[in-house]
């Protein structure tokens, strides 16, 4: 243990070399801006910079790519809060309360919380990564298709906790998302499904397209239809500033979000999105005012933001310790390691300790730098929330359309995004929440893979699902999720009625 921190100190010293500091700063700033562009997230950021970064010296290259990764996480919250467009699937939960806060003129507070959450989540994630990388990696791979199936059933059930006015509509939206997730080549046999005879749908529909359409374009279509006074936004400079007291008030959500994010993020394939959902639901369950969630609750920003940042370090564990990429972004990072001539895997810590510790050191420095940068930028960014839609939206629409086009250089993608804009508009008018759709689209395919892989291996024998203790435990918690509230509601109906009366 003590030895680990000694190695880290050495790494911090190595990462303080001017060349590496420059690489960190460049990577962090580029990541921040790519993350803040609607529709582009950390995966796109790392992919864009990879060909350039590998021409640097080894440590600097990975320090820069890592900085792009966590920089984009910081930046992703910016678009989620200011425009309501998640730049990456893991920022979807941030939209729920963050965007509501911005609409109410509290953009600065929301951004401040997200920076604090990113920092705390990053720090806790990093500390756990530094201390337990190899131990945790071994536990993480115990999660196979059976356990993944259980975890996904649990995550999807959390839609019931996310609430909203109408749970039925939330679940309809979720199932629509699960269906969208099945579009493309079937993950098990490779046969095309719902491709409408078009090869361009073979790889499914890109997350950014859905995010930009459903959240961005739909909102921008809906706004002109609303009356000018619907949202009261009185510009006060004080509201542009992040406040330390708010951050301290959310400390519980920050810590629980970070821990959940880290441990779910470690699981190969589960990813940060499931982590943000669980963190949000947990925060809501623990909260004394669950009714404020979804309506601009600070805790609703703190929990998922802490979770997705912690998850980004969690997902690096399988890569560094086992040579297995735990997420789309780490798969590209691993390509970077290979291109600079390093073989990620169980031997990396033993054969390249200087490199690994210098990279870890660079992560700490990068996180500190990002807090400084984002706090300085917060008032400026928050002011965007007060721009009149007439000025703001044309610019945003141009950027998002360009962003979508740049992913595959495809006008088809642009048309799809506009199509989802219309779908999102109709859903908003009919009161269907868009968030469950995105979650269904991201998690549904993971559920399908879990079930089908299990059944291929067991030759259709369903009893294997009940032979895994981890899976059984998760299923038990899922059942409790539905039964306990129902029991509580029955027992405390009278009490609840009096509380509501008092509250009103």
């Amino acid at each position: 243990m003590l030895e680990t921190w000694g190695l880290l100190l050495g790494g911090l010293a190595a990462a303080s070399e001017p060349a590496i500091l420059i690489a960190i700063m460049v990577g962090a700033i580029i990541g921040l801006f790519i993350g803040a562009l609607p529709g582009l997230g950390p995966t796109a950021g790392v992919a864009i910079l990879l060909p350039v970064a590998v021409s640097f010296d080894g440590t600097a290259a990975i320090a820069a790519l890592g900085a792009v990764y966590y920089g984009a996480q910081y930046g992703g919250a910016v678009t989620a809060i200011l425009l309501g467009i998640p730049g990456d699937a893991s920022a979807t939960m941030t939209v729920i309360d963050g965007y509501q806060m911005a609409k109410r003129g509290k953009a600065g507070v929301a951004l401040g919380i997200s920076v604090a959450a990113s920092f705390v989540g990053g720090l806790i994630g990093l500390a756990l990564l530094t201390a337990f990388a190899t131990t945790i990696a071994k536990a993480a791979i115990a999660f196979g298709p059976i356990e993944m199936t259980a975890l996904m059933i649990f995550s999807l059930s959390l839609v019931s906790v996310l609430g909203g006015s109408d749970p039925i509509k939330a679940f309809i939206s979720l199932f629509l998302g699960v269906w969208i997730g099945t579009i493309g080549l079937d993950p098990i046999l490779g046969l095309p499904r719902f491709d409408f005879g078009d090869v361009r749908l073979f790889d499914g529909i890109e997350f950014s397209i859905i995010a930009v359409g459903l959240f961005g374009l739909a909102e921008m279509l809906a706004t002109p239809a609303m009356s000018e006074t619907a949202v009261s936004t009185k510009l006060r400079f004080r509201d542009l500033l992040p406040r330390l007291s708010d951050t301290l008030r959310c400390w519980r959500e920050l810590v629980s979000g970070s821990l959940i994010g880290f441990f779910v993020g470690v699981l190969p394939g589960a990813g940060a999105t499931a982590a943000t959902m669980i963190a949000y639901a947990f925060a809501k369950r623990q909260s004394k005012h669950p009714e404020t969630f979804g309506d601009g609750a600070m805790e609703g920003v703190a929990a998922p933001e802490a979770a997705n940042n912690a998850a980004s370090y969690g997902s690096m564990i399988p890569m560094f310790a086992l040579g297995i990429p735990g997420s789309g972004t780490t798969a590209i990072l691993m390509g970077g390691l290979l291109m600079i001539g390093l073989q990620p895997g169980p031997m990396l810590f033993a054969t390249q300790p200087d490199f690994v510790w210098a990279v870890f050191g660079s992560f700490y420095i990068g996180n500190l730098a990002l807090v400084a940068i984002t706090i300085v930028l917060t008032p400026l960014l928050a002011a965007c929330a007060f721009l009149r839609p007439g000025y703001l939206y044309p610019v945003v629409i141009a950027i998002v359309i360009y962003g979508i086009f740049s992913i595959n250089y495809s006008m088809f993608d642009v048309a799809l995004a506009i199509g989802f804009g219309v779908v999102g508009y109709v859903m908003a008018k009919l009161g269907y929440p868009p968030v469950p759709l995105v979650l269904g689209m991201i998690l549904g395919p993971l559920l399908e893979r879990g079930i089908r892989r299990t059944l291929v291996a067991s030759q259709g024998d369903l009893s294997v699902f009940f032979k895994s203790p981890i899976a059984l435990a998760i299923i038990a918690v899922t059942l409790a999720l539905f039964i306990v509230p129902w029991l509580l509601k029955r027992r405390a109906r009278a009490k609840a009625a009096s509380v509501i009366a008092a509250g009103a």
């Binding site: 791979i141 080549l185 993950p187 490779g190 297995i324 893979r449």
Partner: protein, 330 residues
């Protein structure tokens, strides 16, 4: 359409259209007389990768581009461009569509054969010109170090073993079917989304066997986590001299992944000859050995256009047979 343009913008457009037409004709004539002018190559090459940045095909392309540039093997640049999507269809449709254009190149991956076989593309592997293969990646069959299976023969004693593969149709899936048939047993093939996931499932004990590229497996073998049982190349691997081939153990299983480069159909023979020469120099040079072969633990090889073309026929036929067995196609 043209009338509309000229009526709105006037004579300038019409003149520039005419000028462009003349230029196109000149270029076309120039290509026709490529031999006479001997100017090939005189513009930037475009290497289209069918997957995203950082994957195996992308790394191959970028390493090749770097070596061509560093060693000044070609007088012009080669730009690597990623056109992922459609399970390879986007990139391969694009390359095939550049018919007779000797400035477009691409790499051969599994989807090069399988996506056209699904019948959803208008092109097939026959719409490309093979240039050369410059590396070969055998597959290593391995088990966990604590597995009771000590040899290929032992697989028979444990019916219903599972293996992981990237997608239903892949080289490891092909090898698993071959092994099942040769041993007269059944190996269940569980499809995953990437090599990393397969390895995670293997290390976590969720599958029993893995057929992997040396690049993925050797590191785990060195760490004492996995135990190799056989290699799928015709001869033993340089990096694993103690591991026998399937052939040596009496099984008729030889299948390797060739790292080959193609161009669209109909390119002039001079272009093929030119690239055969360049790629031979690359394959036999030190830069390729240190920056690709050794780094990724692959085997050095050079196949010219004709030989590589023959291998493409064999590979496509194998995939077709497997896909029929899986009832993916009729």
């Amino acid at each position: 359409m043209e009338d509309h343009i000229s009526s709105t913008v006037g004579g300038i457009t019409r003149r520039s259209v005419a000028r462009t037409a003349v230029a196109i004709l000149a270029v076309a004539a120039g290509l026709g007389l490529a031999g006479a002018q001997a100017a090939y190559p005189d513009k930037t090459f475009q290497y289209v990768v069918q997957s995203g940045v950082g994957g195996g095909s992308d790394i191959l392309a970028r390493t090749l581009a770097k070596i061509l540039h560093d060693e000044k093997l070609v007088p012009v640049n080669m730009l690597v461009e990623n056109r992922p999507g459609g399970s390879g269809a986007i990139a391969y449709n694009f390359i095939a569509g550049q018919k007779a254009n000797p400035y477009v190149l691409g790499g051969v991956g599994v989807s090069f054969f399988t996506t056209p076989l699904l019948g959803k593309m208008t092109v097939s592997y026959k719409d490309f010109t093979p240039l050369a293969a410059i590396a070969r990646s055998p597959y290593i069959l391995a088990v966990r170090a604590d597995s009771p299976i000590k040899s290929v023969e032992d697989i028979k004693k444990h019916p219903g073993l599972t293996t992981g593969t990237v997608g239903a149709v892949s080289d490891p899936a092909l090898l698993a079917t071959m092994t099942s048939q040769q041993l007269g047993t059944e190996i269940r093939v569980v499809p995953y989304d990437g090599e990393g996931e397969v390895l995670a499932a293997m290390l976590g004990g969720h599958i029993d066997l893995v057929y992997g590229n040396p690049n993925e497996i050797l590191e785990q073998v060195k760490a004492g986590v996995l135990r190799p049982l056989a290699v799928s190349s015709p001869e033993r691997m340089l990096s694993l001299p103690n591991v026998p081939t399937f052939k040596e153990q009496g099984y008729d299983i030889v299948h390797t992944q060739l790292r080959g480069i193609v161009m669209p159909k109909g390119v002039p023979p001079e272009a093929i000859a030119y690239w055969e020469g360049i790629l031979k120099k690359v394959a036999e040079g030190d830069a390729w050995k240190t920056q690709y072969i050794q780094r990724f633990n692959e085997e050095p090889i050079f196949l010219d256009s004709v030989e590589f073309g023959k291998q493409m026929d064999v590979t496509s036929a194998r995939y077709e047979k497997l896909m029929k067995e899986l009832k993916l196609i009729k």
